[in-house]
């Protein structure tokens, strides 16, 4: 269902994927994940804040039992102690160790690959049994650092998108659809 125009924020340029399309695709990917990890103990790890919406939808669509955990990292352009941006670091760590567990990193979007690479390196160093990536959106056209994406819901064009957890200045995460944002409007 396409939302009524009066319910679409002014600077939304167009809707890429409707709420129904998003739900249907997440269900498909959840089936693939359930099949792959059936009989194993899967832990989903989501990165705060953007991936929370996707994690929730994905976990509910899975047909196997899963554990969940969260972490957060500092962002480039965020506060630092000096003239340079400093180094990326864990702002909120996992609550439990992941040694010898099957771990699936749940991302809202993979684009340059910088963030995902850092997260994979951080998690790989903790000795999981396996480590995979599931992303809601993949903007591979923008990739600089190659990262192995195991499950993706949508490949998207080189545009700035919001909704389903993705934000602009912390807004629009709660949109049920995925839309292209034009920041110059409104």
């Amino acid at each position: 269902m396409i939302p009524a125009p009066e319910n679409v924020p002014e600077n939304i340029e167009r809707i890429l994927f409707t709420e129904e399309q998003v739900s249907a695709r997440i269900a498909e990917v959840a089936t693939e994940i359930s099949e792959k990890y059936r009989g194993r103990d899967l832990k989903l790890i989501a990165v705060l804040k953007g991936s929370v919406f996707f994690l929730t939808a994905l976990a509910r669509a899975l047909t196997i039992p899963v554990k969940i955990d969260f972490l957060a990292i500092s962002s480039f352009g965020g506060p630092s102690n000096g003239p340079t941006p400093g180094l990326v670091r864990i702002a909120k760590d996992l609550d439990e160790p992941i040694l010898d567990e099957d771990v699936l990193l749940v991302e809202d979007i993979v684009d340059t690959g910088f963030t995902t690479r850092y997260l994979l390196q951080t998690l790989a160093g903790r000795g999981p049994r396996s480590l995979g990536i599931c992303t809601l959106l993949d903007r591979s056209v923008r990739r600089i650092v190659q990262v192995p994406v195991d499950f993706r819901c949508f490949e998207i064009p080189d545009r700035f998108v919001v909704g389903c957890g993705l934000d602009h200045k912390q807004l629009y995460r709660n949109l049920g659809y995925i839309a292209v944002l034009n920041p110059e409007r409104g």
């Binding site: 480039f76 340079t84 941006p85 920041p183």
Partner: protein, 314 residues
């Protein structure tokens, strides 16, 4: 002169800690590649015999360290200089499960294969140490500080190292120019006995960015602990009938870890078209070279995403 040497277990990601500490301290980072370039500048293309390698390295480093504090990130670098107040020698280690995990990710290996590769890397490391320093095993007494990454991430380890270096090197003073001269003289004499004489003098060159966006991109790579080199290589694209290069292309960045060149284009469309043509030629002439073009649109989105202030593009 202030020196910090760092080495570590293979696949422990000690190089990442070294990069972070160099950034925090504003020390020049000396990697294997950078030292090799300086040694070639200084001694020419003739390979330095393995037994003279350490002396040649010290001769170059002692002279450069008089003008720039150095962070030397090399296997076995703890053996380069005698223990001194102006020197801090650090080692990075972690448990095998973590090192294997890192290899599983980097090389896309299953755990048994990663453990086997780890054994190979350890053996290669021992061979290198034996060749250069006549010591195959790591001697824990040769370090002032050892950090274990089992429960500390690379950023925290970099901060600890930077704090230790500031405390040690700040409290206990720097090496005097006379003492640096002495080290340089000793090592050059040793080299002269082997017939190795410097042809030129290597210099520390810092990246001088052609555009503010390049500096911002370098900051972004630093933030994500991705090692980069700025304009390290030019690729000839066209030659005249006498074989002289008439057109060349120098990509902005090289990311050694990924063997990838990155070209930023934050210019007007006509220049983008010209640059695209060069990238196309480069791909045709050098098909084994990986290059990624980062367009103005991509860059604006990054700036937009991170809420940074974009510098007007030319």
């Amino acid at each position: 002169m202030a020196l910090l040497t760092i080495s570590g277990d293979p696949a422990s990601r000690w190089e990442e800690v070294a990069r972070g500490a160099a950034q925090l301290l504003d020390f020049e980072l000396v990697t294997e590649t950078r030292l090799a370039q300086w040694m070639t500048e200084e001694f020419g293309d003739t390979p330095i015999p393995a037994r003279a390698w350490a002396s040649a390295a010290v001769a170059v480093l002692a002279r450069l360290a008089r003008e720039h504090p150095l962070l030397i990130a090399l296997d076995g670098s703890e053996h380069l200089f005698r223990p001194a107040a102006w020197l801090l020698r650090a080692r990075i280690t972690t448990i095998d499960a973590h090192r294997a995990g890192n290899l599983m990710l980097d090389l896309r290996l299953e755990k048994p294969d990663a453990l086997a590769r780890l054994r190979e890397l350890d053996a290669e490391n021992k061979r290198l140490r034996k060749t250069r320093f006549s010591r195959a095993s790591v001697d824990s007494a040769a370090f002032d500080l050892t950090l274990n990454l089992a429960r500390t991430d690379a950023a925290q380890a970099a901060e600890m190292l930077a704090a230790a270096a500031q405390k040690r090197l700040g409290d206990q003073g720097l090496l005097s120019p006379n003492a640096a001269d002495e080290i340089e003289f000793e090592t050059r004499l040793e080299l002269a006995k082997r017939g190795i004489v410097p042809a030129r003098r290597a210099r520390v060159t810092r990246a001088s960015f052609g555009h503010p966006s390049e500096e911002m991109f370098a900051n972004l790579l630093d933030f994500y602990r991705i090692h980069w080199e700025y304009e390290p290589r030019s690729f000839p694209l066209q030659w005249d009938k006498d074989g002289h290069v008439t057109e060349a292309f120098t990509p902005d960045f090289y990311l050694p870890e990924f063997d990838l060149y990155v070209e930023l284009t934050t210019m007007k469309q006509s220049l983008v078209t010209k640059k695209n043509r060069k990238v196309k030629m480069l791909r045709a002439i050098y098909p084994h070279i990986n290059i990624q073009v980062f367009y103005q649109k991509d860059f604006q989105d990054l700036v937009f995403k991170y809420g940074l202030r974009m510098v007007a593009s030319s």
